[in-house]
Amino acid sequence: MLKGLLVDLVPYGKAFLENDHEWENGIARFWSNLGECPIVSRAQVEARHQEWFESNESYLGVPFGVQTKDGIPLGYFGINWMVPHCRSVMVGAVINDPDYWGGGYGTDALLLLMDYAFDWLDMRKVWLGTMSLNERVMRQMEKVGFTLEVRQREAVYAAGEWHDSLLYGLLRDEWPGRAALIERFGLQARPE
């Protein structure tokens, strides 16, 4: 478990898998899946879980569930793709309940994940993608110190319009460390 101030990163186990049906049909997926609005049955979600469990393909990712300090499952934060010889990881994230957006939960989880990538896995680059419609994530990337490296024109179709796909990167020597950013953002533990 990776312990933060507002959230912990834990194995993506039963408590999270049980929520996946509701989450996959929820509004958060529109933002995390670049405009996709999945409408999926419980059986489809379970089949996907089964496929995941039984997959023999080498999977160079590290999935975490993110939960509040008193154990409420919120979503997924994880390494979606690792390229060990380039020492780079592409990360993905979603907080499913909109009530937990904007309260520092996502920032706390992201700092934990980046600390894990740099200080435990010894990576030297963290990168991720979003869409130009997602101003909340764009603000967060700038706040944490990511550089917008690539703007792929009209690579995303969301809500009936074309948007750009944005790729952000942060190098190890640009990473001030989790403690420094916690102090800069004034993140503090709070009673649940």
């Binding site: 030297r124 680059k125 690539v150 024109r153 179709y157």
Partner: protein, 203 residues
């Protein structure tokens, strides 16, 4: 076969498959497959790769050859989206004598033609290592826009190098015939390779 101006697109089989055992261990391959770990590829790896690409529902590998049938290399589109019709495009000159020639460039144009004019894709994406000036010039000459740089992204020869990212929208593509008319591609008149031994035996 789809016939082009200097090259034709053909199935990646027969002498292409034989050549690939050597091509997959050449630098041109690793410059194209930018995330490849530069491991030695055995004949079995080559066979598996071709089989994987033949089963690939989101992409394909084609061979491209000169008008007199000399295999040059491969062109690939991959990771086609199911909702957003875009794909990554890659091309390599396995026969390095063709590196930077108009035959190699025509291979890229033929791939773009196939993606836009046959598959009706909306957007194509290309990537090139920052020092790969041939590939960068080819993307730009084909009309791609430079959309950014993935900094220090790939481990290469003891250093970390950037990846230049390019994009081309369907509406920006004037059509293959217009491109050929505008660009005036010239044949390099390279002497064809001898046919691989296995094929000669078949004949």
């Amino acid at each position: 076969m789809i016939e082009g101006h200097l090259v034709d697109l053909v199935p990646f089989e027969d002498d292409f498959a034989i050549h690939l055992a050597a091509w997959m261990n050449e630098e041109a391959w690793f410059r194209t497959m930018i995330y490849d770990r530069r491991e030695p590829h055995t004949e079995n790896d080559v066979k598996k790769y071709i089989e994987k690409m033949e089963k690939n529902k989101r992409g394909a590998l084609f061979g491209y050859q000169t008008k007199n049938g000399d295999p040059i290399g491969g062109v690939i589109y991959d990771y086609q989206g199911d909702r957003v019709w875009k794909a990554d495009v890659m091309s390599f000159a396995g026969d390095t004598r063709y590196e930077g020639t108009d035959e190699q460039f025509d291979g890229l144009l033929m791939l773009i033609r196939y993606c836009f004019e046959t598959r009706n894709l909306y957007r194509l994406e290309g990537a090139a290592l920052a020092f790969d000036t041939v590939k960068i010039e080819q993307f730009q000459r084909a009309g791609f826009t430079h959309e950014g740089t993935l900094r220090q992204h790939i481990r290469w020869g003891g250093d970390y190098v950037a990846v230049e990212m390019f994009g081309l929208l369907h509406r920006e593509w004037p059509g293959y015939d217009s491109m050929i008319e505008a660009l005036g591609l010239q044949s390099s008149a390279i002497e064809p390779k001898p046919k691989p031994e296995k094929l000669e035996k078949k004949d």
